[in-house]
């Protein structure tokens, strides 16, 4: 075991740090990195785009992608080293999760050469914001039950239906669109995966106000939307396996948020030390200590699990279903941590912080946002099924829709 960089890794880290120092301001001691953003400020989006473009221009973007598609042809270790270094600087929040984190890997796995050349380099340069058009009002966790239909018309598909919970669809240039192209076969077999230009006529993305007060996820209405067949990823009827690639990448990119937990715990300790009751600072309360420790143990467990995965990958072993752990644990941990922070303040825990940029984290916003981490990208229950069935090899839940054509599947409506 050796947690130090290898000589090559150390050289790479030094180069990355030197480049970052020439480009951006470092975070001040104790300063929190950019919080989760709901991207309601156009300037913030432009800063995010500009930072991505700058990284791509200098060769610090999309490390594992081939050079011909705008990447660096590098390793996942380089990617994590750069991310670690980047986290020490004052960089804008990242608006490219659905693009670079999900669309990119899906295109690399399932796209034709022409499709990769068409989208990937621009994606790496931050020219496109992407969104995911998967969920629907009647489907939810049963994603393959979606009803948005696409009918072939010459070289085009004509799409009609409604999508839901599509983050950033109101800002996006492109969408990852899963549609039903054949209702007369089983529900998984009748799906096709399309890439849709979000400026196409017939697309109406309406922001939905969330519990945080922000409005960056959307319901998206698709009415007679024409999508060229050249934008199809994978086979007609083969959309489910393409979607699984997207979902796997979604979970691992969302789970990476667990690394922020340790920082939150430091802030929580500071809060407990600075807040007093009649017996003294709350940090002296055993129940408080135990609750803080529970958060810290989980957050570090997630980080060290990612180190194990990284080590395995550097030895050529692909990551397994255990990567689902990160999102499951980190989501719940964040919710517990935020709730504890509000508890520590008694009734002031119900007062919205007027200055979230002060020396504490915006706990109230964090608490309201936390459920998203337990729902988006697969609920806790979905993830437990995945772990149970793929990591432990337990038998699947029997399904009454098995062997039925989609059209014949009973529904509640």
């Amino acid at each position: 075991m050796d947690l130090d960089d290898t000589p090559e890794e150390a050289t790479f880290r030094a180069e990355a740090r030197a480049w970052l120092e020439g480009e951006v301001e470092p975070l001040a001691p104790g300063e929190a990195p950019a919080a989760i953003s709901e991207f309601e400020d156009p300037d913030e989006i432009e800063r995010s785009r500009a930072w991505q473009a700058r990284k791509a221009e200098a060769g610090w973007a999309c490390f594992t992608w081939p050079v011909e598609y705008g990447g660096r042809g590098g390793t996942s270790t380089q990617r994590s080293i750069f991310a670690q270094e980047e986290a020490r600087f004052r960089i804008p929040p990242d608006v490219f999760t659905a693009g670079i984190g999900m669309a990119g890997p899906t295109l690399l796995a399932h796209g034709s050469d022409e499709q990769k050349r068409r989208w990937l380099p621009g994606m790496a340069r931050g020219e496109q914001i992407w969104c995911q058009l998967f969920s629907e009002p009647g489907a939810g966790s049963d994603l393959a039950a979606l009803r948005t239909a696409a009918i072939r018309d010459g070289d085009e598909w004509v799409v009609d239906g409604q999508k839901l919970w599509s983050s950033a669809a109101n800002l996006a240039d492109w969408g990852l669109l899963l549609v039903r192209t054949d209702p007369d076969v089983g529900k998984h077999a009748g799906l096709t995966y399309l890439l849709v230009d979000m400026r196409s006529p017939g697309i109406d993305a309406r922001p939905i106000r969330q519990i945080t007060g922000g409005a960056n996820f959307n319901e998206v209405f698709l009415t007679g939307v024409r999508v060229p067949d050249a934008n199809r990823l994978g086979e007609v009827g083969g959309g489910w396996s393409v979607a699984l690639t997207t979902l796997m990448n979604e979970r691992s990119s969302l789970g990476a948020g667990g690394t922020g937990g340790a920082l939150g715990v430091r802030a929580l300790i500071a809060l407990a030390a600075a807040t007093h009751d009649e017996r003294g600072p709350l940090l002296g309360d055993d129940a408080v200590c135990e609750a803080i420790a529970d958060c810290y143990v989980r957050s570090k467990g997630v980080v060290y699990t990612s180190w194990r995965t990284q080590t395995a990958m550097s030895r050529g072993v692909p990551p397994g279903p255990e990567v689902s752990i990160a999102k499951l644990v980190a989501g719940r941990m964040r919710q517990d941590m935020m709730a504890l922070a509000l508890d520590l303040q008694d009734l002031f825990g119900a007062v919205v912080a007027s200055d979230p940029a002060a020396d504490h984290l915006p706990w109230d916003h964090g608490y309201l946002f936390a459920p998203a981490a337990r729902i988006g990208g697969g609920t806790d229950e979905v993830l437990r099924n995945i772990i149970g069935e793929r990591a432990l090899g337990l038998p699947p839940e029997p399904r009454v829709d098995k062997g039925l054509a989609f059209r014949e599947i009973p529904t509640g409506r």
């Binding site: 075991m1 050796d2 947690l3 130090d4 960089d5 290898t6 890794e9 270790t77 715990v265 430091r266 300790i269 030390a273 940090l283 055993d286 200590c289 135990e290 803080i292 420790a293 529970d294 810290y296 143990v297 989980r298 570090k300 467990g301 997630v302 980080v303 060290y304 699990t305 180190w307 194990r308 990284q310 080590t311 395995a312 550097s314 030895r315 255990e322 752990i325 499951l328 644990v329 229950e381 993830l383 437990r384 099924n385 772990i387 149970g388 069935e389 990591a391 432990l392 090899g393 337990l394 038998p395 699947p396 839940e397 029997p398």
Partner: protein, 366 residues
Amino acid sequence: MNFDFDDDHRELQRAARALLDDRCTLRDVRSVFEGPAPFDADLWDAGAAMGWMGLAVPEADGGLGLGYLELCLVAEELGRALAPIPLSSSVYLGIEALLLAGSPDQRARYLPRLAAGELIATLAVQERRDRVAGFDLQTRFEDGRLHGVKAPVPDGECAGLAVVVANGGSTLALVELDGEGVRREPLASLDPSRSLARLHFDGAAAEVLGADGDGRHLLDRLYDRAAVLFAFEQLGGAQRCLDLAVGYAKERYTFGRPIGSYQAVKHKLADVFVAVELARSNAYYGAWALSTGSDELAIAACLARISATEAFQAAAEEGLHVHGGIGFTWEHDAHLFLRRARLLAVELGAARRWKRTLVHRLAARP
């Protein structure tokens, strides 16, 4: 970065597992569990022949001079097998105490025999049920003599040497248990495959280990080291419980389908899997800190200890539950794991204490 064990470590682990598969089946564990002997002496000798006790002891002190990474993986296998031998007392606590604070003379006298498995050591801390570890200690060490009562002392029945916390915690005293002025009284153990005893000291000859007055500090450091090794034992036990429960959930049918296909059971086992994987990752970090002598050990030991304790307990409790009524019977092995999980959960102090320590150490960091 290389956050994993290497092939040569794994080779040693495989050898330990092969020996334990052969010599330490659950039937063997049960014969100690239900029999009069405090431990499995044949298994102890076989382990000694493999060099288990001396893995992390320098060659100059009669050990193999390998390291803690090797010892961690052997500990994991011992935990997996529920090995009924006093390795944790003798090696993680006894040998480590001597490595930490022993004088050259004390090391020369005891380490070669401990490393060879010819002598068994233990650590005696607590005294009374209503006084938790380290608090209000009455045992006195004065003028080379020890007076007091220690209980419960793990493996106190079979140990030949004890490190005794005395003088309110300020002194660690080293005492040979086969000498004059020592009386042993067996205590019924919740896990009879690991024995507990009460030790009475009535003017027994003893000597100071480390600097007098430094006892509490030494004990903290000793606990940090031992916590990582205990964590690997707990991890091995937890993984075995999970494996057994998953196997049963695939084979046992109810209402026409395997119980593992029900979400209530599947999600329970998924949660145990998550706890075990987090414990493994935290234990690895502890292994790294221990093996490199890093200052991070103060935090890493807490993480490893808390995570492994919770994982073994969850795996033992939920593993038994998945087996239903059969899991509640004396004949079934589930209670052997439940008992071991409980013993290990409190042997170095309960998780509650480690959580408090963790947060205070984090708060004291710059």
